[in-house]
Every structure is written in structure tokens, then in C-alpha cells.
Amino acid sequence: MAILVDKDTSIIVQGITGREAASFTKDSLDYGARIVGGVTPGKGGQEVFGLPVTDTVRELTERFPVDATIISVPPPFVKDAAFEAIENGIRLLLVVTERVPRRDVVEIVELCRLRGARMIGPNSLGVISPGKSRLGMVGGPAEDVRKSYVPGNVGVMSRSGGMTTEIANLLTVNGLGQSTCVSVGGDPIVGSQFADLIDVFEADAETHALVLFTEPGGAMESALAARLRERPSRLPLFIFIAGKFVDQMRGVRFGHAATLVQSEADTTEAKARILSEAGVTVVEELSALPGLVKEALNG
């Protein structure tokens, strides 16, 4: 059993008729994801790759059990789409959309808490359990996904969508497969942070080590360090922190919306220090990562 998304996970796509959504829907079906339908208000009755398109989420949840939704709608409509999914009983939301207003993100998080749902993203490329299923578009078309991702026992979480695939690929070319890989999203506030998802990886018998990719800015790493100080992990943990040069460039935003150094705590140096003190191996050079993981797995 893979975590978050498995071969039996039943998935819908909100905004399925959009160009990007239609494209990743096709790629995901090719990869074996169990997408059962999609929603686009006003386009009910159409079909996309043989899948039913409905006006409302309810029309799909009445017909199928739905475990997860991929939300790929323009920013002004994300909150309503997320609320619709949650209120119709869907418990896992992946939000692909970028530039969602922060207040909307927080309101979705609050409703998730009330209803026991989980949001990954916004601004996430997705979640993949190699060889089983995928939620979102991480890794691209099925044939590209198969080159970068292979099944195995290393979990991956990354604040960068592109680096999720890069790290999986680095592990793959060095003979290490992955259990589940999560692009957590590059925004200042995301529904599921490292500290939220580590429990899920720890509970997964197929995950034997966990690799993280992070950047300057944000508080995700200090929250993880606090969690580890309170309760150490059963998993060997590795983190690569990119953007050392940003430490010297306060107030200038690089890369993702959250990648901004405003105070000492935002620097890569501070993050490396607190995580290393909390027992995480801070990887200095990306190409050294597979060797370190192998050592931990065989040790």
C-alpha cells in the first residue's frame, strides 16, 4: 500500500476541460491513474478521453466513490472548488493552481481541519507513487515519468516541483527506487508541509528513507525541526537546501513565491543548522545524495 495515492485511488479532476488539465489527465491515464471523471461548470455532459464531465462534484461523488481531487482552475475559483470537494466528502485535495490569494488558502486549510481533509499545494505539481498511480502532473507524460521514477523505498518531498523529478531521477539512475514523491508546493502557505507529511511517510512500511528538497524562506523547516526534537523519526532523513547565495540578498525574491530571505531564520545556513541539530543529514552536494542514502539503507 502506497501512501496518499495508490493504484486503487479514485480521482476526479476539477477544471478537466482546461488545456493543462486535459493534458495531464491524458498523461495520468496513460500512467495508470484511476481518474473517474471531471468537473467543469457549464460543460456538464461532455466527455474528455472517455471520462464523464459534470457541472458539479456531487454528480460524480453520487456515481463513484471519490478519494481525491486535482484542482486545476483559475486562482479566483480555487477556494470554491476546494470547498465543493470537501463538502462532498473528498478527503484529499491536490491544488495545482499558482497565485491563489493567501486568505483563500488559509480558509481552505481551516475547512480541511474541520472536515478531516488534507490539501497538497497550492502550486504543487503533484504526488506520485511510482508504478502505481499519480495525482497531478509531476514528471510529465507517462514515458518520461517511467524514465525518472521507479518503484522502491525512498520517499521524496520537495518545495520545488521540477526538483521533485530531478531528485527522483538522481535516485533512479543510481539504482534507488521511490515509494512516494510529493511536490508540496512553492507558495508561502501550503496545505501540507514537511512536518504534516512526515507522519504519513513514517507510517508507510514501504518507505525506508526520506529525502527533502528545500529553499530559503518560510517556516516549514523550523516546524519540521520542532517535530523531530519532540519525536525523532524512525526514518533516516536527508535534506538538500538550494539557494545559499540568496542568504546574502535580503528582500530579493528568487524562484518560488516563498523563496525570500527577510530575516536570519530564512537563510539556508539557519535551516541547515536547526535541521542538522534535529538529526537530519544535510547534503552539501546533490550528487553525494544517492551514496548517503545507500549507506543509511545498508547500514
Partner: protein, 397 residues
Amino acid sequence: MRLYEHEGKALLERAGIRVPKGTLVSGSAADAGPSLGAATFPVAVKSQVLTGGRMKAGGIAFAEDADQLSAELTRLLGSEISGHRVETLLVEPKTQFDREFYLGITYDSAAKSAVAVFSQAGGIDVEQAGAAVKAEIPLLLPASGFRFKELLASAGLQGRLLSGMTGVFTKLAGLFRDNDCILAEINPLVLTPEGKLVALDVHVELDDDALYRHGDLVKRFGLEGRDADARERSPLERKAEEIDSADHRGVAGRMVEFPGNLGLLIGGGGASLTAFDAVQRHGGKPANYCEIGGNPSVWKVKELTKLLLSRKDVERIAVIMNVVSNTRVDLVARGVVKGILELGLDPAEKIAIFRIPGAWEEDGFSLLRKYGVPYADRTVSIDQAAKMAVAGAGGER
């Protein structure tokens, strides 16, 4: 997006929070004189610049009479405060007070919640003073004053001050929510000898991603085109922005110049940071940071390549991205090669390394082979590629 103090105060006033009655002056001291004819002295003269620490940087002055005021107007208008040019001043009656407080509402990204922060030690050194209390404020429920009352009571406030402050805090929270702020901070909020609570300074930041639903503010404050970060762009950086916006296909933006000799065409967000660090780690000197992604057109990559090589000190360029699925490797390869050829240069000489594996890589690599350009596939990691670029050796051709 940060608002000027006078804009923040207009929002406070609209929310029912008391602020000093100020007058805005700009232009030259002579122009400004008449509008201040009726000023009640003493007054505070405050530079309207988008930076904190104005008091320490000399951007805030006080005047006891018309002569002093005129001298301060002359000194401040057109001067620079912490690198920001002063174009506008806010002149307001100097408020006498007994106590100063700090009130703020912002987002806590770890808690994934809005938070209210309060300190009895308001004033310019509040960051150092510590002793702040905070509480999460749910946004899904209608605003409710009791949360602020509890917070303020826990900080030791009592009696009329507790009630008055609860009112101000609740209004500030409404302002924060209604205007899609990411920060709304009053520092200091003062208690006057008459027992009134007055906001002497305010710092408001709006969520850039929510501006679309605040057309009134955009229009009222002229926010259209105001730079989100105040960093001055170099001519080359501005040119890169022009290239990016001239073609909607893909992103080739956020160019930041550095004084090195190795031009970088790198992407996406996370991989750019990784590649830049790796170049420096191996002793290379990057000439720039940038991010390409989202499948940029051949034209865009070509123009960016030419722009980078237009800098006399840029000897070669390194092209490095993470394994791509959305961006086409062959299009980026064509853009880079074409740009170099159009400059009458040799791609084999000018490209230190091309490392983009992924979609359409076979087509891309075969083009690079044709021109003898050193390239690397997915078996070569980002930092190994950076090392090759710095060493000027390696890669297949």
C-alpha cells in the same frame, strides 16, 4: 505590495481607527508651503518611503514653528532615506502620549493561519523588545472581538484600556481580512493623556495575488505598475523583462546580474538555485541568475542568449535545468545555438555545458552534436554539470 504610510492610514480611518489629521505635501518646499498655512504646531514631518526604520534613518522630523517646518521640508523633499527617494511628506500634528503599544495581524506560515500579535512595548525597537503575545485568528468564522479581548487580557490589559484596545484590534482584523492584507501592523498605537487610542504609524502589505479583487484600492492608490520589490533593475535586467513579456510562451525571467564571466541560462525555480550554488561551489563566477521554464519559445531563448553574450565580460554560457517534462529540450537547444550563430560566434566555443534532460531530448542532443556543443544527459547531476562548465571540460560533443 507595501503601501505608503498615508495610504495605510487612509485604510485605518475608513475602518474607524483614529489617526492624526495629516496633510500630504510633495514637489518643492515652496509649493508645499501654502497647503500648510493652518498647521498646528508642533508637527511631525514624515517621509513617505517604502521602508522601515525611517526614524533612525533621519526620515522623520519634528517642527515647533513655521521656520523649522520650512527647513525640514527643504531638507527632506528630494532627499534619500535608506536608498529611497523622498517625493512626498506627511505632515501631521505631533501627538502627545503616555504609552505606546504594538498591534499586528499577519499570516503564520507554519501554523497556516492568520495570527494577531500584541506587545505593550510598542515603538521603534519592538523587534528587539520581545514580550509579544500572539493568537491564531480563524478567517472562516465571522470576526469576533472576544479573541482579541482574551489576547489583550493575557497581556495584562484591564479596564477601559482593555475595552478600547479590543475595539481597535477587532477593526484592524477586519481591515486585514477585507483588503486581503498579508500584514497590517500599527506601531505605535499610542494612549494619549485624554485616554484616546491613536495610530501614529502603520505598515500595510497587500497580497499581490489578491489585487484583482481590489480594483478600488488599485485605482485609489495607483497601484498599477508599482514594483513589488523595490530593487533597482539594471538595464540588462530590464531588457530581459522586455524579452520575457514580448512573448507569452514560457518564462524566461527574473534575471539578476552578478559580476562574473559565466552566463547562466538556468531553470526552473528550484533547479536554478541549485545550479547557481553549484557553479559558485566549484569556483565559477556567475554573470547572472535567471529562470527559464514553462516551455519558452525558440525566439525567447535566442534573445536571452544574445542578451547575456552582449555583456563584454561574459565569456561563455552554461545551460542547466532539472529533468524537464513541460519544457522541450530541443526548443531550448535551438534557441541557444541560433542566438550564438546570429552573433557570428561558434556554439562549440560559447556553450560551456548544456544539461537539460527530458522531453524531446533526442532531438535536442542531436542538434548539439551537430554543432559540437558539450552536453550532458540525465546521468549527470546538476552539480556535476556545473563543475564541467566551470572546468571548461567535459560533456559529450
